[in-house]
Amino acid sequence: MTRAVISSGPMPGTEPTMHMDMATDLAGILMPSPVLTASGCAAAGRELDQFFDITQIGAVVTKSVMLQPRSGRPTPRMAETPSGMLNSIGLQGPGIDRFLEHDLSWLDERGARTIVSIAGRTVDEYAKLAARLRTAPGVDGIEVNISCPNVEDRGQVFACDPTAAANVLQAVRRNSDPRMPIFAKLSPDVTDIVGVAESVVRAGATGVSVINTLLGMVINPDTMRPHLAGITGGLSGPAIRPVAVRCVWQIRKAFPDLPIIGMGGIRSGLDALEFILAGADAVSVGTVVFHDPSSPMRIHEELEQALVERGFATVAEAVGYAHRGADPVDQEDDLDFISE
């Protein structure tokens, strides 16, 4: 792959305190770091700005916003699971109008780069959200959360159907500035994530964000009922990291030049490096923010260190580096067993 050309190996003896330029160009968004927040895990940046300077990370990806205010689901909305958690928030939020007035304007004034995540219940809602964003100042990119049920199609989740996913992305593309970077956020709960990626890219997505949570559930041993009021919830955190890395790998393999934001259980700079080597241009930190509110900045620093130690001069050099060279095993992979 052409993105991942590097000739020099790790430089032994590199000073552990050396710095490098972490500047990242994500589909035209120029950022000082490839480390972003994950949608729904950073609200609209204000709270995290207490713990680190949010203008120093790549971008704030805001909680998915809908057209109207939304109360979300009843509590309990979360359960801790081994190395992860389930959530079932139900996209509680203020609605696009108040979001623009109250949240986006603050982010803009603060000088943070912002990727606005949007969610709808119909293709038309996505279209309207994109149209509202078109005139709003301070939008550096749009992330389209398609892990929502389509109320016009028996609640079938957009992200689980390549055609429905494409319809959403097409509607968002048509209603956005043509230069606006648009990322389709993909669900891992599908048989063929590369197929969904292909479909949304054809429909006009500039890039993809992978992955959203996995559908999971916990039964409470005391009540002997599902623990979450919403019954099922989204599984996130380090537990899902191997699934997320695999999804990034597969998509990068199929699309050597597609901008990819990778996420799923990133806890350290080495975890972030794993995603970048697998093919992510940038990474989002989600659940681990709950564990460590300073983590996006810490991960930025640890990643910088890890890249320097390995002799990379830019972040871009490391993107997809794990795909380098011929790979005989990989060739026969499809004809061998993918799972025991």
């Binding site: 729904g40 895990c41 950073a42 609200a43 709270e47 995290l48 207490q50 713990f51 909680k63 809908m66 109207q68 205010p69 939304r70 109360s71 979300g72 689901r73 009843p74 509590t75 309990p76 909305r77 979360m78 801790e80 081994p82 190395s83 992860g84 958690m85 959530n87 928030i89 509680q92 939020g93 609605g95 219940r121 009021a229 955190g237 380090p238 659940t287 681990v288 923010v289 709950f290 564990h291 460590d292 509110p293 300073s294």
Partner: protein
């Protein structure tokens, strides 16, 4: 008040009845702590499978001294995270974020205040009682629990309060019954201007309803499961009626944990009341 994230060192861990009192160094946190604030603690060390922090009301702070600020929390062992915490020993290091949340609001006037604590819910009332007394308020305290060993801090509270009333469900200490059995008479006797409460949801509901019936201002510190504690995740919401009469699902970690007792829709906690802003039934979505 801006919360900070610091590494705290365990100075002491001691058993008090059914609880563990953990003393930690907490530089930068103690100076800005007010009664009702809480902290969250990282659990299980670096390779822990427990990814979520645990929340604890700040019980006491000591701002000066060689450690540059220390705080105490009172831990009831409930599940695996609190069990891990209870096994910490002197010199262990724990990641602390705090102070968090909205603290108790203190009255401007010298009104009589009744403080009610259920179980470890009495922990944040110590600082509150002290500060109310500094302002010249009369302070009466009621503590209740299922049984004697689940009461926390009875001796110290006796010292801090004009009167201390104790109730236990099993009658093992104090009155046989619940805090709300003794509350009305006490409120009348002292002509209570404000009621403060911290404890299980059921108790808070009963106390708040009692206070509201009697048109007494009440402040209740709620306890909802929290994933982040800092306002970014939306797991910790309760239905609260705003100044504008509209019910919203508010985050108890940043808009609480202390709420006005007459504003929380206690009976609807764990649901989305149909008239909540943005509720599914309303507005067709």
């Amino acid at each position: 008040m801006v919360p900070v994230q610091v590494k705290g060192e365990v100075l002491d861990m001691r058993r008090v009845g059914a609880y563990h009192v953990l003393s930690l160094t907490a530089p930068g946190i103690t100076d800005i702590t007010r009664p009702g604030h809480f902290v969250t603690l990282g659990i299980g060390g670096e390779e822990s499978s427990m990814v979520l922090r645990r929340a604890f009301a700040i019980h006491q702070v000591q701002s000066r001294g060689v450690y540059g600020g220390t705080l105490d929390v009172v831990i009831g062992v409930h599940g695996k995270g609190t069990r891990w915490l209870s096994e910490r020993r002197r010199h262990d290091v724990i990641d602390i974020v705090g102070p968090l949340g909205r603290p108790f609001v203190l009255p401007k006037e010298r009104v009589a205040c009744v403080l009610i604590g259920g179980g470890y819910g009495s922990a944040p009332l110590f600082m509150l009682a002290e500060q109310l007394r500094e302002r010249g308020c009369r302070v009466d305290v009621v503590v209740g629990a299922s049984t004697e060993e689940k009461l926390f801090g009875v001796l110290d509270l006796k010292r801090l309060a004009s009167t201390l009333t104790i109730t236990t469900d099993d009658g093992s200490l104090g009155e046989h019954g619940r805090v709300t059995d003794v509350l009305p008479a006490l409120m009348d006797r002292v002509d209570a201007g404000v009621v403060y409460a911290c404890g299980p949801m059921g108790m808070l509901q009963a106390v708040a309803e009692l206070a509201t019936e009697r048109r007494t201002y009440s402040q209740c510190a709620v306890e909802e499961a929290m994933a982040c504690g800092i306002g970014v995740c939306m797991t910790c919401v309760v239905p609260v009626i705003g100044e504008d009469g509209v019910t919203r699902m508010l985050r108890s970690c940043v808009e609480g944990p202390v709420f006005r007792g007459d504003r929380v829709r206690w009976a609807d906690v764990g649901t989305i009341p149909p008239d909540t802003l943005g509720a599914p039934e309303q507005g067709g979505h």
